[in-house]
Amino acid sequence: MKKLSIADRLGLVNYRNQGRSQVKPHILVNTDICNSVCPHKCTTYVCPANCYTLDEEGRVHFQFEDCIECGTCMYACDQGAVDWHYPDPEVGRGVNWNYG
């Protein structure tokens, strides 16, 4: 089988409110914590949707748009940087699984 990149994989996910211009984030990340005291920055590799990325300077950035609501970052972050909620059905993002 052809090897899929994470971008290919996320391209298969059916998200809610894709057409909406203003979408309310459901996870708030205090990246000041990631970029000051965190010894591992683990969300940048454990997140199955690659929502947490490192820039050239090694700083953590978070975007919620690709989030598939799995919950991993809420447990894996032991630094208190992740404030995790479910997306609002009306104005949030989040997934609609076709198979699940």
Binding site: M1, W97, G100
Partner: protein, 442 residues
């Protein structure tokens, strides 16, 4: 909606729908609130619903060609992997061909939606047809508490609903259970895992021929060893009607410690020569992931009931993987049923305090759910040690390679092969200790 309701169910997955089915049958009015646009929209599972509880909830479901399950399981396989090899324990029997089936593969967006239709049919037939309903696209933001007692919920948009009791069936990311004070607001990664999965579509005839399926029979194959690149956990491959569910369950703390990306380990698993042979020609149609409990009871909430509150399914961390099967959806179903039975009793007694709702705990303790979780806790911990997911698969595959190699020379006896294999990967004494521990815990 100013009137006080009898029961609010939070979550329209298997636990919530099972509770709803029983309440409908017992003529107890309720509202089920689901944040997805349909049941299953937010749910991910590995893919096998074990046991026969489904037959209790939807009698004769297998007679319905449109029933929401994929295939019944009559073929089980546990496979040990090293880089090149696969050594399997394989069992298939026509004994499993007769309904009620001992397990069915499911895709949650399809299965839960079907189950919700069945619940709606039960509501329509009940005396509460005008009062009970399934509400979608609504998120419960918080529980409304009055002196430690749950009296209702506040939903997205700010509306409040009041009820005699609330059944939480919110899933493993149990924010409301935490708000109720039954679990710490931060749950560490130690007893949690993350599942990643792909749905791989192939021509139905190819799939049936490749996996030797007939009619609606199916196979469940679990993997340990090289599948996870040394991270605690294992892999799975389940046959659906015209797709495969292929994925991994990875210990979250171990994944963090070993600095691995779950989808890259999935690539490794899929490209294992033996696994690749099973997937060839398939097309990935969905990639998904979800947190899952490991079945370690240390991850459970402090209590699973309170005044006006019952906690079911994975919100209560009800799950067991003791090497035989990964059981979670059947536990969700059973706990949902028991919670609803307790609510019906509470309504009869006119008391929704913990004095009555503690009967749910008692029921669950007496059921197979908590008896199995308690009896197999040693097995859960035994299986999560590196010797089991690293050393044992290597020993099995090395033994297989030596045993099944036939050369035109004098061959060693099995016990000599075994002795040499064990010495290559561990110390004989460690192996004996491991065998003893396995004997005690399994």
């Amino acid at each position: 909606m100013d009137d006080k309701l009898t029961c609010i169910i939070v979550g329209g997955g298997i636990a919530g729908l099972s509770a709803a089915m029983i309440l409908a049958q017992k003529e107890v009015p309720f509202i089920l609130i689901e944040r997805g646009s349909y049941s299953g929209a937010k749910n991910v599972s590995g893919g096998v619903l074990w046991g026969t509880d489904l037959a209790r909830l939807v009698p004769g479901y297998w007679k319905d060609e449109q029933a929401g399950f994929e295939r019944f399981v009559n073929h089980r396989r546990l496979t040990f992997l090293d880089e090149q090899s696969a050594f399997s324990i394989d069992f298939k029997s026509s004994h499993f061909d007769e309904p009620p089936y001992m397990g069915v593969t499911v895709l949650r967006a399809i299965f839960d939606r079907w189950l919700a239709d069945k619940v709606q049919e039960a509501i329509d037939k009940s005396a509460c047809a005008e009062e009970s309903f399934l509400a979608y696209d609504v998120l419960v933001e918080r529980l409304i508490m009055e002196d430690d007692r749950v009296v209702g919920v506040e939903v997205s948009g700010g509306e409040t609903l009041y009820a005699d009791c609330v059944i939480l069936a919110e899933g493993v990311n149990n924010l409301l259970t935490r708000q109720a004070g039954l679990q710490e607001s931060y749950v560490p990664a130690d007893y949690m895992a993350v599942g990643v999965k792909e749905i791989i579509r192939m021509d139905q005839r190819v799939l049936e021929d490749r996996f030797q399926l007939s009619g609606r029979s199916g196979m469940a194959n679990e993997f340990i060893g090289h599948a996870t690149e040394g991270v605690e956990g294992g892999g799975f491959l389940y046959t659906n009607r015209n797709t495969l569910s292929v994925g991994l369950v990875l210990g979250m703390a171990d994944l963090r410690d070993k600095v691995k990306k779950p989808y890259e380990i999935l690539d490794t698993f899929k490209s294992h020569p033996v696994v690749a042979d099973m997937l060839r020609g398939g097309e990935v149609v969905e990639y998904s992931a979800h947190v899952v409990s490991t079945g370690d009871m240390r991850a459970m909430p402090r209590e699973i009931y309170g005044d006006g509150l019952l906690i079911t399914g994975e919100a209560a961390n009800l799950l067991l993987n003791a090497g035989k099967a990964i059981q979670g959806m059947d536990f969700a179903m059973h706990s949902g049923i028991l919670a609803a039975e307790t609510v019906a009793e509470a309504r009869e007694a006119g008391d929704f305090s913990r004095a009555t709702l503690q009967r749910y705990r008692k029921r669950l303790e007496e059921s197979y759910v908590l008896t199995n979780m308690r009896n197999f806790q040693d097995a859960v911990r035994f299986l999560h040690q590196p010797a089991m997911f690293e050393t044992m698969p290597r020993v099995a595959c090395d033994f297989g390679r030596s045993f099944f190699t036939v050369e035109n020379r004098s061959m060693p006896k099995i016990r000599h092969i075994l002795r040499d294999v064990v010495r290559r990967h561990t110390r004989p004494l460690d192996m004996l200790k491991l065998m003893y521990k396995a004997w005690r815990s399994l």
